[in-house]
């Protein structure tokens, strides 16, 4: 992509930089903010290896080695938070990765234009509900005394009981409400990719007598593969990064055994009981694992398919 391969050819780096000094000025606010509030905390993560005391500051606190990592790995919360995180995360990927693709393929088959438009706008709409309102809706709809879903279920003879108080139901509730809220929105990229398909391909397939189903298998799905790979890599990069916001709001004393994930545990340890270093260690472990998985999946994707993020 770069026109000049090295700084040795053409004018010197400084000369080129000086000519475009205005561009650096345009980047300056972003650079300052990123250094202060994003890169400085990346440096601040060294408190995971220190006994952080607020009075001594990040640099002044004494070193603690791997003490806090060992404490996390040896604590009884380690296995349960990692398991819960992985269960919710893998369940989410397994369900919310393929469904938007199916939805996009469906949408692409709708020829009633008005209906298609209405369908798209309606399925995108839940995406704009805030997490707080979404969780409030989930709790109200599932309430055993007045909720809509237990009422509807009892009409057809199913007793649901208290779903929010049922730890075993937690991951299912999380994942399927996630589908309800985001499946439409997540399909946009695939719909965009499908709209770029050359119509001549379909015409050629029709001449050969292909059915709609065959056209989907032979044209649409192969067209979506690069988009699928990119989105899949990105999803894998956050395997241990299940959204804090929704899980935290849906937690209660009854489902905590299955709903305590690393990020909620970290928050409670760090900001509720002020164990900064311990909490920073959990966070660093988390981010490192995510980062390594992202790189691995990206490398694998590049090897087998030539499509990759970087």
């Amino acid at each position: 992509m770069r026109r000049t391969g090295s700084t040795l050819s053409g004018p010197s780096f400084l000369a080129r930089a000086g000519r475009n000094w205005g561009l650096y000025l345009l980047m300056l606010p972003g650079i300052v903010i990123f250094i202060c509030f994003t890169y400085l905390p990346m440096y601040g993560v060294i408190i995971a290896f220190k006994d952080f005391r607020p009075a001594a500051g990040i640099w002044g606190s004494s070193w603690a080695g791997l003490k806090y990592f060992e404490r996390y790995f040896n604590s009884y919360m380690f296995a349960s938070t990692i398991t819960n995180t992985l269960v919710i995360s893998l369940y989410t990927i397994a369900v919310t990765f393929p469904l938007p693709i199916i939805l996009a393929l469906m949408c692409n088959q709708m020829y009633a234009r008005r209906f298609k438009k209405f369908f798209q706008v309606s399925t995108y709409l839940p995406h704009f509900i805030s997490t707080v309102v979404m969780c409030g809706m989930i709790i109200m709809f599932l309430s055993p005394s007045s909720g809509l879903i237990p009422k509807l279920c009892s009409l057809i003879g199913i007793q649901t009981g208290d779903l929010m108080g049922n730890a075993g139901a937690f991951s299912g509730i999380y994942v399927w409400t996630e589908v309800w809220q985001h499946v439409g929105w997540d399909s946009i990229m695939y719909i965009a990719a499908l709209s770029a398909v050359d119509p001549q391909l379909y015409e050629a397939a029709e001449v050969d007598g292909a059915s709609k189903w065959q056209k989907i298998l032979a044209i649409d799905i192969p067209m979506l593969v690069p988009t699928m790979i990119i989105l899949f890599i990105l999803r894998c990069g956050s395997i241990l990064g299940v959204g804090f916001e929704k899980v935290y709001l849906l937690q209660n004393d009854l489902n905590i055994a299955k709903s305590e994930i690393t990020s909620t545990y970290l928050y409670k340890m760090g900001l509720k009981s002020n164990q900064y270093s311990y909490s920073a260690a959990i966070g660093l472990f988390n981010n490192a694992v995510n980062f390594i998985i992202l790189i691995l999946v990206n490398q694998i994707a590049r090897k087998i398919s030539d499509t990759s993020l970087f």
């Binding site: 700084t7 475009n20 972003g30 965009a192 709609k212």
Partner: protein
Amino acid sequence: MSHPDIRGRKNHIRKSRADRIFDAVIYTAAGLMLLLALYPMYFILIASVSDPNLVARGDVLLFPRGLSLDGYSYLLSMENLWKGYGNTIAYTFAGTAAMLAVNIPAAYALSRRDLAGRGFFTFFFLFPMFFGGGLIPTFIILNNTFHLVDTFWVMVLPFSVISYYIVVARTFFQTSLPAELWDAAQIDGCGNLRFFFQVVLPLSKAIIAVIALWAAVGHWNSYFNAMIYLRTPERFPLQLVMRNILINNEMASTAMTGSAAAELNRKANLIKYCAIVVSSLPIMTMYPFVQKYFNKGVMIGALKG
């Protein structure tokens, strides 16, 4: 092979029948999905204007019953909710302005091939997408180093650089601004800054709209940063107030038992329905009119620069 026309016709009939079944399946599934997507929102709306006793019994399913606006009139007296509403509007305006001011210029600079050190700056702006210091170090820096915790600015400045916005805007600039434009401006003696403000920005209304809408919705809907970095209830945004009402059940009482408590709970539910409607209304009503910008943004992002 010997009777191509007959084969062709046969094929055609079979194909169209299979395709008709196919279409029927598609449209039936789509109808069901529409119902699933829209009904929960419709239910909230009708429950918010119905008699809470009928809602609790499950008698309000298709149309509002026992029509009343009691819930909304009670909402009017909830000062913290309106205070939150005002705060959110302020955070949304200031935060969106900050995001535009920071991300759009940076994205433009990164889109320029002749930017010396382009690779380094691209890495600088994109790396935080994949790795970060985490919650606790960020909190300590904001609290101990910058003393921003529990101020107005913590909701506006620290998280205003969004790598994804930069990627999308950069792709837009790369694909829709012809390079000849800058060449011509240079010949006329126009500098980078003047070029950006007088030529680039007027040609980039679409991407500015996309980023502004994303940023505004993000600010309107977020509660996480407020929960972590704000302490004074007077500064709480709408979503944090909503959390107290919806999740922490501020309105309902667990201390009471019996029919009084049941009555109070029904009333609390009514208030919840009304609060959901009032808090979501601005975005929900605006969205269908601006949705083309949202779609456009996602599609630009999909091009991947």
